[in-house]
């Protein structure tokens, strides 16, 4: 659930793939990829505001999001259990259909 409650642990999420000008902490390679919420780290000042002299408020939830490497990279060993985890702020995530880990 995105909203007041935020995403739940294990919930499938997709990283939004739009381009946003300015200071953004969502890496290009993970945009559009689907993974799962490993855990919520709490709320933090928004770097997209902080980077441009703002106060970073309101705070934004930050999630540890896990992805199967084979879902992220073409050519990654399909049998591999390897994962990549990225810290992603809530406004870069949307609910996805795919199941978690």
């Amino acid at each position: 659930m995105n909203g007041e409650e935020g995403f739940r642990d294990g919930e499938a999420v997709r990283v939004k793939s739009h381009f946003k000008a300015g200071h953004v902490r969502t890496p290009f390679y993970i945009k559009g990829k689907t993974g799962w919420v490993e855990r919520c780290y709490g709320e933090f000042r928004n770097p997209e505001s902080l980077g441009h002299g703002g106060d970073g408020l309101p705070r934004v939830r930050l999630y540890l999001v896990g992805f199967r490497q084979k879902d992220v990279w073409d050519g990654y060993d399909a049998a591999s259990q390897d994962k990549v985890f990225v810290d992603i702020f809530e406004h870069w995530l949307e609910p996805a259909a795919q199941a978690g880990p």
């Binding site: 709490g42 049998a79 985890f85």
Partner: protein, 210 residues
Amino acid sequence: MAHEHGPGEEHEAGPRHELSHWAKRAYAMRALLIEKGVVTEEDIRQQAELTESRTPANGARLVALAWTEPEFKARLVADPKKVCAEMGIDATTLNEFVILENTDRVRHMVVCTLCSCYPRPILGRPPDWYKSFNYRKRAVNDPRGVMREFGLELPDEVEVRVHDSTADMRYLVIPARPAGTEDLSVEELEKLVTRDSMIGVMDALPAVPE
């Protein structure tokens, strides 16, 4: 370090002709910040000293204790900043601090692809290779290849978890405790905990046979 002058000093005794464009501007900005009363020489000197005092020994102490005391490890994992404070490690500048524990089945490796975020209070300044473009480029999509370059060949059944620490979290890896170290003291164990093993690209050093 073989420097005649600390960064808080004026470098009266040049010559500094070998300085690059940006190095000169660093000294100019320093002089201007002091002249304008924004910071003092003492502020800069103290900061440089604090930075020098932060070394991987801090992390090694945490790891060695975590290896030997399960109760300590549980507290470290649950609240790393609190444990650092108890141990006199100033981690207050870290927004959040997360411990990743390697096991026989799962290995962690840390990178920051967007800049070079690093748990400086725990490990000191990041090494050059960590800041290199090739590490930032390859760590996420070729972690096994990176580890191979560091001398570590991982079996397929071990799961590699790369952490791209792009936001407020800073990560420290607890490497697996080397075999045959049951009788070593915490101080002896600390010596086996290398910086690179706490970033996750290598194992801790093997126990030195007697």
